[in-house]
């Protein structure tokens, strides 16, 4: 199971370093796919109904539907394919490394029961949340904001995994619903900004500032 979690962290790093929007979206799809496998492995029997339902649900949303919509808005908005980071990609990669160190050095203090997952899952979740945040901070385009938000949500989903045995369905469905709502809001934003200003750069929102 470790390779899945490592894969999740690696995909977040690829997103941090990717310079093209399309590869970012592909990576977030891959990350969603990896995540959705996790609940399947949680149960002793592979064909557990609940695990299967969760797999199908999260796979459809995280790995298929959301990337599809993102690609579509990418095509419709006819935006440039570059990521346009605020700080250079190398810097964000180093930041991601720092975040990873922080997450792994501090996870001992979270007394979370992680069974049946390896204890690696807690720092991985923390790192994913923080990397999602880094993506949100360091990118300007609205579409990359959505991607960052998705990574953040994936981290929350990972945290949720540790509670899978205690609060099975409610937590997960809550997470998925939350995600969906978030993406829709962002999607509307993307559409709106695109229509109004002909590009989807969130820095333009600063026209709304209160004092000059």
């Amino acid at each position: 199971m470790d390779w899945l979690i490592v894969g999740i962290i690696l995909t977040s790093f690829v997103m941090l370093g990717a310079s093209r929007l399309a590869s970012c979206i592909r990576m977030v799809a891959l990350q969603g796919a990896l995540l959705s496998i996790l609940p399947l492995l949680a149960k002793p029997s592979f064909w557990d109904f609940h695990g299967l339902l969760l797999f199908v649900g999260s796979f459809t949303i995280k790995a298929l539907a959301i990337p599809f919509f993102l690609f579509r808005s990418l095509k419709e908005a006819r935006i440039k394919q570059e990521v346009e980071p605020v700080v250079s990609l190398h810097m964000t990669l180093i930041g991601g490394g720092a975040v990873l160190v922080l997450a792994f050095s501090s996870f001992r203090f979270f007394a979370l029961p992680t069974a049946p997952f390896p204890s690696l899952i807690v720092p991985a979740a923390l790192a994913t949340v923080l990397i999602g945040f880094l993506l949100l901070i360091s990118r300007t385009k609205a579409i990359t904001q959505v991607v960052g938000f998705l990574v953040l949500e994936n981290g929350v989903f990972l945290f949720g995994m540790t509670l899978l045995s205690d609060f099975p369905l409610t937590v997960e469905m809550g997470v998925l619903l939350d995600l969906l709502v978030g993406v829709f809001v962002m999607g509307i934003m993307v559409y709106h900004i695109n229509r109004t200003f002909d590009h989807i750069d969130t820095t333009v929102l600063s026209k709304l500032r209160d004092i000059e």
């Binding site: 203090f109 923080l130 949100l136 901070i137 600063s206 500032r209």
Partner: protein
Amino acid sequence: MIFLISSFLFLLIGSLLSFLCRCEETKKWMALGGVMVGSVTGLIPAVFVLAGKGPLSSSLPIGLDLLSAFFLIAILFVSLLTALYSWGYLKGEPHMTVYCTFFPLLVGAMEAVVVARDGFLFLICWEVMSLASFFLVTAEHETPKVRHAGWIYLIATHLATAFLMAFFVILFKKAGSFAFDDFVRLSPLSASLSGILFLAALIGFGTKAGIFPFHVWLPHAHPAAPSPISALMSGVMIKTGIYGILRAFTFLGPPPLWWGETLIVAGIFSAVLGVLYALMQHDLKRLLAYHSVENIGIIVIGIGLGFIGRTLHNPILQLLGFTGALFHVWNHAIFKGLLFLGAGSVVHATHTRAIDRLGGLLKKMPVTGTTFLIASAAICGLPPLNGFISEWLIYVGLFRASQSLSQLPLFLSVAGVVGIAFAGGLAIACFTKVFGVVFLGEPRDPTIDGVKESSLSMRVPMGILALLCIGLGLYPQFVLPVLISICQQLDPSLLLTSALNETFSSLSTISIIFVMLLILIASLLIFCRFQLKSKIIRKALTWDCGYALPSSRMQYTAASFGEPIGTFFRVLLKPITSSRADHFEEHVVDLSERSFFAPLFQRANRFLTFVRRQQRNRIQDYLMYIFMTLVILLLWEVWFGI
């Protein structure tokens, strides 16, 4: 307990239903009916507890002991009468929705604050109370002044809540739970910790109570609010601050000497400065608001005296201080409620709060005028009314203190006597001004006409409160046992000594003297009437003074009353005057507003403008702030452990 919970339910349902229904008349019925029924059901258990049936507790984190019941009775009684008064007051008033929704909510929140037995619940109810009263203060939000007052109130009350949060969180960290019972078990705390907690409680609760220099919101918020709400806020809501102080000190263990001393100093400043500023006001309700500061000061002096008594193991000081303070809580609720209701009637009839535009109202509004006069006499501490008794108890306590204490406490008790006496004297001057200008003389402003006496539902509550002023003044023994048992609840080791019984038994002598005084006055009046019956009575203009054609502009005005005192205390008050041959104006700006809060907020504003310039208003920046906070908190929690 079932009564208490159903009382909450009535209040909440009243608030909700009046919010939901459309028709104005139904709204009024729902809200005021809810408050009345809720108050009556809530009063029942409170009266039972005060009658000595033992405290109530339940599985919920609420409970009713003597201290809570004492404040609960004041709160619900004034609410009941205010609801009755509102029936007449709301006729033709706009802003029904705000008023009817938040009035029951405010009453319910105040009730919850005094019965909460859990720090968390307490804070929530405290916030609900503050917010409900904020919406009521800003009910007439069309006026910029009202909005300004609303903001000042909101900021002040939230600063206070911040201190209270610190207070409860520190206690929680120590006790491991938010339950009041666990807090009580904590004592004794270390001296430095309890000192910090004391200051947090004093600032937090003192802001709500209106202790100098944290009173700045009072003179803004009270005039802005609708009059029945001012009565409720000034009469009882600020008393939740006093309740908080008393309740907080049950957690903190035996007080060191400086607590009592601090309280007395704060009390003296509140009392003297409150009344000085009151004298300089031209707005009827603003003046009354400053008198709340004065009376809270007197209450705080009493509490401070009680604490000094407790520290020095002097039961007489303790009892006299606490009983005086607690009794003054009730009395102030009664007469200040009455004064604000009276002011409300005046404002309702004349549509102005400016004292200098009113005049000669006693002839047109006899009931309002008479009850206002009774309340004015009571607030000045004149015998034979209730204000005298509570101030007398504090006076006796302070005199006893000056006999038995030494050094700083001695100085403070003497200063306390002088302070209360000074405040009392100025209060008489102040209410002479108010009553003289507003109710006596001739109408000053010809544009105000068609003034009528207020409706029956407004007169009845004022009458009841006025009767209570007289009743509690003549027969204070009725309340004393209750007050003493509350003191015993505050300090279980308190012993009743013979010297004490002596002091209290002198109260019965006082009431006999009062009754005789009243009989004397009454018989004199009857005698005068009888004498005058046979003679011809010629009615002339007031303030005639030998002029052939006096005009109403020749009368004394509020400014004429205030000017000598303003000149005398000009170092402190710094009055701004503008005078011409035919015109004189004088205004004062509050000391703590002028030299503490205004510079503070100006500096804060300057700094924050600098910060605001720095921001580039990008989503990424804000997200980065969140990110940094998260990481710092994470590091802190992980490496240091909060």
